[in-house]
Amino acid sequence: MNYGLNILSIIIWTPLVGAGLLFFVPPVKVRLAKLVALLITLATFISSVNLLSFFNAREAKLQFVEEISWLAQFDINYVIGVDGISLLLVLLTTLLTFLLVLSVKIDTSNIRAYLGSILLLETSILGAFLALDAIIFYMFWELMLIPVYFMIGIWGTENQGKSAFKFVIYTAVGSLLMLVAIIYLGYQFQQQFGTYSFLFADWMKLQLSFQQEVMLFLAFALAFAIKIPIFPFHTWLPNAYTSAPTAGTIILAGVMSKLGLYGLIRFCLPIFPQATIYFASLFMLLGLVSIIYGALMAWVQTDLKRLIAYSSISHLGFCVLGYAALNLEGMKGCILQMVNHGLIIAGLFLLVEILAAQTKSRLILDSAGLAVKLPVFATVLFIFVLGAIGFPLTNGFVGEFLVMFGTFKRNYLFGGLAVLGVILGALYMLSWYRRVMFGKFSTANNSELADLNANELLVLLPLLMLILIIGIHPQPLFNLSEATVRMYVESFIKK
């Protein structure tokens, strides 16, 4: 299954090599730096797309597995592989990173370091998605914090130091218990089978008492819940999203939040099936609260970036809900919604940032009636808004529909309450769109507005096309993950 190339390793490490290359670019040659980063991320994206042609969607098992022995005495090895779920997320990551680099303005201060941070972040995220060994996973998981810390701290705005600090401490502390749980599981494996192992696949064979499962589940779930974040572990998010520079915000919201959900699906579900079922109702409740709470919070925000940040909490609540429904429809809805959310939130943050750069303010009331001056911007933004409110024939509808249906199938009450998200979503999204775009345009402070330029359109159009294409023809994405999800749902839930 190796096709002669370590294709996954190439995907993971290419961005890091690119970050290294950036050191050799003279600091004044900003365009060259951007070009290098662009080519590297493009190459990464193309290699990940290339995976599709070799990937066997009928196969539920992990594919392209690579194994390199590392700390042999503890059986900690560099093992990576991909299946139907992680493949989609890898594609999302490489696409978004490429588009992000494309959107980076060349007048960013110290652009080499900025681009280097993005590339390092890409490596660590891809590594976390593809790692099959818990220690390797944990290393990539924590590695992510370093570039984000610098991105928020150096290129951020508004209390950036405090936000960066809060984000890193909050998530790192949340992950500590996970590390403990990982070590405990490796030790348990040694107790039961004689040798250490940190492979997730091996851990599924472990015999764990219900009590053990619950404790370990909680240790993992806390880390994941903070990363997503689920209510009430979300308070780092508005600060971090608002302070971070655009690229940082988009990676945080578009990709890193998916790692938490990915963790829930990849680890919690198969290794602690009893505990997963035991806590399913709690997770459903928290997902539901996230949806409604996020929507209400978004409704009363005055800062656009903060508003989108809270809307992100609301949307991720849908993903959590779909996961906790523990059935095929919910799970597939959850996975699709992860991809959808990545595409939509990236577009929304990019657009809000463009707007803020033009009007020199992120406050909603400051920029009324802009649709007159910025018709293209208004149209593009509207399509992203439609995706965000789950309008039919956009990707958001398919995902939300399946999530709500899966939830409804599991529990009528939760399903019935979940549709409130549909109403509230339209309420806050259309409210802010109206306030910003419609109304009487005043030239007083917005005299020099320019509509979307070619470069911005180049970044946004792929996202926009995907929103519509997935909305009209989502089946290929479902087919990619069909076998894997079916295996997960059928073999673990019915245990």
Partner: protein, 667 residues
């Protein structure tokens, strides 16, 4: 036949979609006039194709009937339908959906109305929007609307119908807020969308229940397996779908968006908020009629709700002074009549009324649009120019014809359909069957209210005719001069409009006027047969009763408003009437009620959340951080750097340990 039936069926909705893209792209670049022509020709072509497909359906059907007639033992009536499957949309677990269109008798009628009336309104819009810079956008939205509306009535499964359902809602939102420079227009659009979303959410739950119970979403399969569903659940499904229908068709209590929707350009009000989109709820229930006949309690609810809405909206329409508001409340009221019919199981009769109402109300709106344009965008009937009946005689005639039709003047189209509704209610036997007396009583009460509402309809419509057109020519000139040119309308669409209505606007009005006058006589009974109406034998004496009510209402209003206007004012001087008038003028304070019960509490809740988020949830996190900090600060004090302090500490600690181990004998 150039195209196969399948291709024709496919082309009917796709043409407006192509028109949408073309008017957007071409319209922006070259010649704004072109967008109107492109959009109109797409809808016209779509209408012609609908006609040809309709003809094909008729021939195929008659062939089938002839063949069936040869089999003596076969007495059931069978009907053909064309369908075309484009492919799957998504198939996940229990959810299977496909892009499949269906052209049967019901969708044929709806398609013809949508494309036919739609085409006329497009033609009208070319004239109406002549001077508006946003024309390409307008026609693009209008075409997109026609596409979604056709998708709604042509789809073969509930989820695709839902796509059209949401789609028309979107276009409605975009078109209500078309002149978005006025924040109020944009707000009205948003209100429409969100109130509709409440219905949509319930609609979704209905779909979920159907999928979990039946596992399929196409109408034929649901109809086949509806018997296996638990009767209790059927009622619940029917109720959820009904809530969706209430939202879209502006029935109580979700009617509040429709009057505000009048903020849109008048052709939009005619097409979306009178003729087509608002009837989607009626269509949905007629389409799912197999479900509703099994849900008698929901049927009862529909009948009561429809009757109440009809009455309630009619009372408001009596007092409004804005032309479009009168027509909006009239639409709500007429939709109430349609729901009445649905509630007593007369589904085809409801569709019949959809058709006649589409002609009549579209004509009223378009005429009103012409009047509004001619009077510098003045919508207040009291401030319109004098002697309009003389100045715009064609428009006056058309408005009068349509008003008479909807008021139920004998032998007009509206008369036939409204009569059929009243008769269905009167002769209804399908209401709840447990207590016969209650049943009969309720039927009679509903009928009484309906008849009274029919009377009110005649009154408010004739009042509008007299107020708009009947102002005497002389004597009022002085008063006219003081009227400022309407609410600064030059801001939005500058329609420099001459009194001599241009042809593009006049022809559609007249066509619709004659349709609303003559359609019932010419094609009414045939349409009822085509839709397989449930009972047609309306007693002659009954017809006399209902036409008397309409004629009395019409005559009374005409006489009073023409000759004895002061009576109305004197009536309003009586305290009781003035109070009632105030309540009606303020639309029963429903908007205020919503504001108090839903909007404010939700806003308050959000602000409470904001507080909790900052001070409780994040507060706890900050508290944890602060405690760690405090611990650090406190312990730091121990690091004094003095050897003597460390030695003393060491000594004390050791002593304590010794005491614990040897004296207290701790392990």
């Amino acid at each position: 036949m150039l195209l196969s039936n399948e291709h024709t069926l496919l082309a009917i909705p796709l043409l407006p979609l192509i028109g949408f893209a073309l008017s957007f792209i071409i319209g922006q670049k070259s010649g704004k006039q072109l967008s109107g022509i492109i959009a109109t020709s797409c809808v016209l072509l779509s209408f012609l194709l609908s006609c040809s497909l309709f003809a094909a359906l008729l021939t195929e059907n008659s062939k089938l009937q002839n063949r069936l007639a040869e089999i003596p033992e076969f007495t059931n009536k069978l009907n053909l339908a064309f369908s075309v499957l484009l492919g799957d949309w998504f198939v996940v677990g229990a959810v299977r959906t496909s892009f499949e269109l269906l052209f049967d008798n019901l969708s044929a009628v709806m398609t013809l109305v949508i494309t036919g009336v739609g085409c006329l309104i497009h033609v009208y819009s070319i004239g109406y929007m002549k001077a508006d810079a946003g024309r390409p956008r307008f026609f693009a939205y209008l075409n997109l609307f026609v596409f979604f509306m056709l998708l709604l009535v042509l789809s073969n499964n509930l989820l695709l119908l839902f796509v059209g359902w949401e789609g028309v809602g979107l276009c409605s939102y975009l078109l209500i807020g078309f002149w978005f420079k006025d924040p109020n227009n944009a707000k009205a659009g948003q209100k429409a969308f969100i109130v509709n979303r409440i219905g949509d959410a319930a609609f979704l739950l209905g779909i979920f229940l159907i999928v979990t119970q039946v596992g399929v979403l196409d109408f034929a399969s649901i109809a086949e397996s509806v018997q296996v569903i638990n009767p209790r659940l059927i009622e619940i499904i029917a109720l959820f779908l009904l809530i969706g229908a209430i939202g879209k068709s502006a029935q109580m209590p979700l009617h509040i968006w429709l009057p505000d929707a009048m903020a849109g350009p008048t052709p939009v009000s005619a097409l979306i908020h009178a003729a087509t989109m608002v009837t989607a709820g009626v269509y949905l229930i007629a389409r799912m009629s197999f479900l509703y006949v099994l849900a008698p309690q929901v049927e009862l609810l529909i009948a009561v709700l429809g009757t109440l809405t009809a009455l309630f909206a009619a009372t408001i329409a009596l007092t409004q002074n804005d032309i479009k508001k009168v027509l909006a409340y009239s639409t709500i009221s007429q939709l109430g009549f349609m729901f009445m019919a649905l509630g007593v199981g007369a589904f085809s009769v409801a569709i019949y009324h959809v058709v006649t109402h589409a002609f009549g109300k579209a004509c009223l709106f378009l005429s009103a649009g012409s009047v509004i344009c001619a009077c510098r965008h003045e919508q207040d009937m009291r401030k319109l120019d004098c002697g309009l009946w003389k100045k715009m005689p064609e428009t006056f005639v058309a408005y009068l014809m349509a008003a008479l039709a909807i008021a139920g003047f004998p032998l007009t189209a509206g008369f036939f359909s409204k009569d059929a509704i009243l008769w269905s209610v009167f002769s209804s036997k399908t209401l709840v069957s447990e207590f016969l007396i209650f049943d009969v009583l309720l039927t009679k009460i509903l009928f009484g209210v309906a008849l009274f509402t029919a009377f009110l309809t005649a009154v408010y419509l004739l009042r509008s005719v007299v107020l708009i057109f009947g102002k005497p020519d002389a004597g009022a000139k002085v008063q006219l001069a003081t009227i400022s040119p309407a609410t600064d309308s030059s801001e939005f669409s500058v329609v420099r409009w001459s009194r001599t209505a241009n042809l593009t606007m006049l022809v559609p009005i007249l066509v619709l006027g004659f349709l609303s006058l003559g359609f019932g006589l010419v094609a009414g009974s045939w349409l009822m047969e085509f839709l397989q109406a449930e009972n047609l034998a309306i007693e002659k004496s009954f017809e006399i009763l209902s036409s008397t009510v309409a004629v009395v209402g019409i005559a009374l209003t005409a006489v009073v408003y023409f000759y004895y206007r002061s009576w109305v004012e004197q009536l309003l001087n009586i305290k009781l009437f003035s109070r009632a008038h105030k309540i009606l003028l303020n639309k029963w304070y429903v908007d205020e009620l919503y504001d108090l019960v839903i909007v404010r509490p939700l806003s308050l809740l959000s602000n409470i959340c904001k507080f909790i988020d900052k001070f409780v949830i994040d507060g706890l996190i900050q508290l944890g951080a602060a405690l760690v900090n405090l611990a650090g600060e406190t312990l730091r004090e121990l690091q004094t750097g003095k050897i003597s302090f460390y030695l003393v500490s060491l000594f004390v600690a050791n002593l304590t340990l010794l005491v614990l181990i040897f004296i207290l004998k701790l392990p």
